[in-house]
Symmetry: C2
Subunit: 336 residues, 2 copies
Amino acid sequence: MKISMSHGAGGEMMQDLISEIILSNIQKKSVNGGVGLDDLDDAASIPLDGYEIVISTDGHTIDPLFFPGGDIGRLAISGTINDISVMGAKPLAIANAMIISEGFNSEELERIIKSMDQVSQETGTSIITGDTKVMEQGKLDKMVITTTGIGIAEKGKIIRDNGLEVGDKIILTGSIGDHGIALMAYREGFGFETSLKSDVAPIWEIVEAALEVGGVKAMKDPTRGGLANTLNELAEKSGVGILIEEDKIPIKDEVRAVSEMLGIDPYEVANEGKIVMGVEAELADEILKAIRKTKYGAEAQIVGEVTDDKHVILETSLGGRRIIEAPIADPVPRVC
Amino acid sequence: MKISMSHGAGGEMMQDLISEIILSNIQKKSVNGGVGLDDLDDAASIPLDGYEIVISTDGHTIDPLFFPGGDIGRLAISGTINDISVMGAKPLAIANAMIISEGFNSEELERIIKSMDQVSQETGTSIITGDTKVMEQGKLDKMVITTTGIGIAEKGKIIRDNGLEVGDKIILTGSIGDHGIALMAYREGFGFETSLKSDVAPIWEIVEAALEVGGVKAMKDPTRGGLANTLNELAEKSGVGILIEEDKIPIKDEVRAVSEMLGIDPYEVANEGKIVMGVEAELADEILKAIRKTKYGAEAQIVGEVTDDKHVILETSLGGRRIIEAPIADPVPRVC
Ligand SMILES: Nc1ncnc2c1ncn2[C@@H]1O[C@H](COP(=O)(O)OP(=O)(O)OP(=O)(O)O)[C@@H](O)[C@H]1O
Ligand SMILES: Nc1ncnc2c1ncn2[C@@H]1O[C@H](COP(=O)(O)OP(=O)(O)OP(=O)(O)O)[C@@H](O)[C@H]1O
Ligand SMILES: [Mg+2]
Ligand SMILES: [Mg+2]
Ligand SMILES: [Mg+2]
Ligand SMILES: [Mg+2]
Ligand SMILES: [Mg+2]
Ligand SMILES: [Mg+2]
């Protein structure tokens, strides 16, 4: 079988590939009873005395490297900080592996590093080790960055993506579709006529605020495959259903308009600065209030609740209901 | 300035790039006083209570993916296990980020994963998390793998690459030049007429045996830039010189012959299953004995000693002396 773009697009096809080729061929998939490969969570963990060391890795193949709202550097470090954060772990450090094409402009490389430094300083997350490889002209498109993050949580305090229970509320920390749609519009050449930009941002502060209140049951960042993929993953792993109210989902008018123009579902595209959080119903309002005080959480909304239905259902503005399926693939290639 | 192949070839040009573009643009480079970016060691560390958490990352761009002695999977997991090991830390877990070209054969992907599993099982190092991206046809040559390793050591027990002292002995754990020369010969099409193969192997067992004896002062794995680069790095960082006896350096006859044929210095090419170790003189024989009992350390030799000379000097078979300079670049592209 030949690997296709869909196999790397964060949806069902990628999940099947990971199951069939990776999970089934690896025997040792966890350490000390921590979160491991079979859990397929945003990160893994290694229990160590009173702690859990949390680790996550992501390769970044975004094209173009510089886009409205950010660049591959900001994306790489934020994306990995976010996968650590949505486990309830404080991000401590980043490992930075870069693979660069021969002929790449060193001034652009410098811009990208400075961009990473900016996020590093904003979050207090250090860049402590890395690697640099160069591939010959024509063997690699521009550059890719693989970041790996290390974070820390108290033993037993990790937040998984399978912890939802019937009655929990679903919080979405801000507008959906920004990153994927902004990127697509920019590529198609009409990004300049819009104010669309990626939401790429490090969101540990949002998690910290929510954990301070308590009652956080499950979290996931809605990257490839978008809100639709994330809601389905949370529901399926928790063995529950989710009911979402369309009216409550924050979405910028321009994102909505441009996604219709492009024929892309904004619920299926990657977001790079958002969290989908399942929380105890009694604490939902307090958590929402705390999140709204944070830099990137000002537009957070309670968008729905957990049901025993086993499907992800959207209650539309008109009052009808439709199923939100897990996407086969994120519709935007090279999106992160 | 345009990035050249030499900027990714593990020698002086790469070091300059890292200094000028990366180190100078990052402010936060360490955590809790641990080994950080400025130390430019094989890995970094995060002190945590009575431990040091050790982290290392490497991108793997080797071409071809399957070569005599191994494949990119074996290389990726071993290379990272080795960078953790030469800090004196026990490797615990691996993060596996793969970027694959559209059209890549899934059977080959499966072979590569099984290869990683084999090393994982041999070493007890679990593969606990990862990522999968796909780039369009023509945008990436076959595939690249970035592995990041997590290991553990006792607080204060990390072995750096700057700890050599005058009088220490230098141990080389086996034959030099195998990986780079075998790869080059295979690419040039005459690998079949030789028995040359990569030495790619995970060498924690060698480190463990040496640490058991004690007296290990400094370690480095002689990857890109080879023995020459590693000796110079150890010497420069420690503020000492090193005197090596050519007669003592293990080198396979075939490696020597083929490197002459290819016009490549076997001291400058990557090795993927070796360690250069500086040890207390009084314990050198005992450490050597312990290393020789291990699977990959049977041909270990004491090859020289640490001087106050500030150069790396080779005493040749004929009794002359020449300086071993740090290479500008590893002569074999896409070597790891
Ligand atoms: N090549 C791989 N090797 C090992 N595990 C993998 C690999 N690719 C993916 N995984 C695992 O599959 C799960 C899903 O990966 P995925 O990349 O979708 O997570 P994510 O990083 O949260 O999402 P995104 O990459 O879109 O940001 C994770 O638990 C990840 O560790
Ligand atoms: N892009 C980068 N970002 C941050 N640090 C980097 C980067 N590239 C290299 N480094 C740092 O520079 C030092 C030298 O890196 P190098 O890759 O040569 O080490 P190595 O992994 O031991 O060798 P090799 O890659 O040949 O196996 C390391 O400390 C590494 O952390
Ligand atoms: Mg995630
Ligand atoms: Mg991610
Ligand atoms: Mg490296
Ligand atoms: Mg090394
Ligand atoms: Mg290395
Ligand atoms: Mg991922």
